[in-house]
Amino acid sequence: MKTSLLRIQAIVIKELLQLSRDKMTFGMVIMIPLVQLLLFAFAINTNVRDIPVGVVDHSQTSLSRVLQQTVSATGIVSFTHSYHSVQSAQKAIDNSEVRAVLIIPQDVSQRLVRHPSVGFGLPPSSKQETSRPIAQWLVDGSDTVIAGAIKGLRNMPLAELLDKPANRSTPTFEVTLLYNPEQRSVVNIVPGLVAVILTMTMIMFTSAAIVREQERGNMEMLITTPLASIELMIGKIFPYIFIGVIQVSIILGLGYWLFNVPFNGGLAQLALATLLFICASLVLGLVISTIAKSQLQSMQMTVFILLPSILLSGFMFPYEGMPLPAQYIAEALPATHFIRLIRGVVLRDVAVVEMSFDMLWLIAFTCFGLLVAALRFKKTLD
């Protein structure tokens, strides 16, 4: 037992020495979380603002101009172009000059006074006249996020157009937004980013670890020594646990200082969730490295795991919105469980044990993976 620990220690020291000489890898440990946090936190924004749109104003009245100003005051769109005909406006959408066009009809003022939300008494008897919207949006609907933002304008209040006091109707539901009342995307993204970056670096480093020993011929020497495969595996992944912890600190620290991401949970809970996930990722990397024949292959397999970890784990799109088969795949990925855990801990101050399913799943994944890796790694050559 003592000699076994000594052998694991020997591998750990060796890995750390090699890592300290490998300037590129060492730099990546710091730079990957730093750059990606700045990049993603600024870039990923689901609250769309200032969509470039055009206008076709058939009415050319002061009312139509006030209407444009009221719409652009919402901040969702900004009028950059004006077109004379619907045809030329549609062409502009085809050419991606604008994402949508507001078409204001000639009779916009008549439509407006008859509009129920304006509230000029009871509507006339003819239903047809009451139900007409005052203007029309032509939208490039291919991007659902942008289309959704403009669809949100459908029931824009119009009272202020006519200098009337706002006649807000009582909403059907009262909605209270917990944990992220200002609805900033960055609050949801930064904790998720921890999972993506850890998946990337942890799997990448360890999946190359064993393959590298084989490629450089060191394995031939190692297998003649009393070193057991499980000792080699543990010694190999141990230094990367620290690296993972450093990366998590960078991401959450910067998220807190730069982007005001609240940190509601306890540090111990965070450490527990993170360690569970780091171990699961490292073990997954080890399994890959026992399958891959070269470092290139191990890299390809890492990407194979990384993409679903970004797209299916709930980092980018809500888990609940995915079809059932995709949910099954997501359940198999450690990143999915970790994203639930870390969002719970960081944003909602939930203890890890209260999310026991995700916690146990990560533990089971780690144990099973270590077993598979140790069995797959053959000490003899045949």
Binding site: R7, Q9, Q18, E220, M221, T225
Partner: protein, 317 residues
């Protein structure tokens, strides 16, 4: 252990293998190898590339499981007791297999930890090894930046760090100049003198000649084994050296004779191996029309290369 009949039986031999076979699919890498290596000797495997030297060594170190046959190395039955054997043997691989991005000292420290040396043992053993193998000055140098000879000395130092009883060297001097090779063999004789049994594979004749005993391998089959001297004495062929002008032409003609096993040019001479059953080899060759009466023929002492050629019927790579 001495009460155990089997281990006492093997006591005088460091390696005792019987009918050892290893197949890789349809390919037979080692075929029915019988091997007895006495303790405290240097035993050589001589053979061309692909003759099964490395496979044989891997079978004897327990890295490969034999397809059939019995192996006993240092009293350990293989493959069952391979893990126990690992602490007693040292293995120097054909290719440099230590870490290029660690220094000499760090490499040796790593290996000594793997073998479970305590901190004190480690310190004294390391300084001892560094001076024996003339690496003290290079101890802070990265292994990757060293010359072939220095790397080889480091590899040997790493292989003997735990004072193994038995040392396997797989073509240890293939990347080393003759001067370094000489010094390397001096180290091997020192180790042997201190009680280590050494098994070395090579395809260099001069290196093979230094071994106490030698096995000639070809296509996984052992063609002969004995001391180099005995091998030369007991050759089944005799060597005739011909001095003449037209050696390429003479060679092409003589090789057609059934009694001639092989003919090879060495500078201004032609060495012809003739079957020992032929009682008058000089007379036989002189009769050939391709030779002029003025050409000089003489029976000469065989070299190890002649032994090798007569055993395998071909030259060495």
């Amino acid at each position: 252990m001495s009460t155990d009949f089997h281990s006492t039986e093997h006591d005088e031999f460091a390696i005792n293998a019987e009918k050892l076979c290893k197949n890789f699919g349809a390919l037979t890498a080692v075929s029915s190898l019988d091997l007895k290596v006495e303790k405290q000797t240097i035993y050589g495997f001589l053979g061309p590339n692909g003759s099964g030297k490395t496979t044989a060594i891997r079978l004897l170190t327990g890295l490969l499981k034999p397809t059939s046959g019995q192996v006993n190395v240092l009293g350990c039955h293989l493959p069952q007791e391979a893990n126990k054997l690992r602490l007693k043997i040292g293995y120097m691989t054909q290719k440099f297999s230590l870490y290029d991005d660690l220094t000499v000292k760090e490499n040796l420290q790593f290996i000594s930890r793997i073998y479970g040396l305590t901190a004190n043992e480690q310190k004294s053993r390391l300084s001892e090894l560094l001076s024996t193998h003339q690496l003290t000055q290079q101890s802070q140098q990265l292994a990757g930046s060293m010359s072939g000879g220095q790397k080889q000395r480091l590899a040997l130092a790493a292989a003997v760090i735990h004072k193994p009883k038995l040392l396997f060297l797989d073509e240890p001097t293939s990347a080393v100049d003759p001067q370094n090779r000489r010094e390397f063999w001096e180290q091997l004789f020192d180790l042997c003198d201190q009680g280590t049994t050494i098994l070395v594979s090579t395809h260099y004749m001069d290196e093979a000649e230094r071994c106490h005993k030698l096995a000639i391998l070809e296509n996984g089959i052992k063609r002969a084994d004995d001391s180099p001297q005995a091998l030369m004495n007991n050759m089944t062929t005799q060597v005739v050296e011909i001095s003449a002008n037209n050696l390429r032409h003479i060679k092409d003609n003589l090789i057609k004779l059934p009694q001639v096993i092989s003919a090879a040019q060495l500078g201004t001479h032609l060495r012809v191996l003739v079957n020992k059953n032929e009682s008058q080899p000089i007379a036989l060759l002189q009769q050939q029309p391709c030779l002029k009466p003025s050409d000089k023929l003489a029976i000469v002492r065989p070299s190890l290369e002649d032994v090798f050629v007569s055993c395998t019927g071909q030259g060495v790579a």
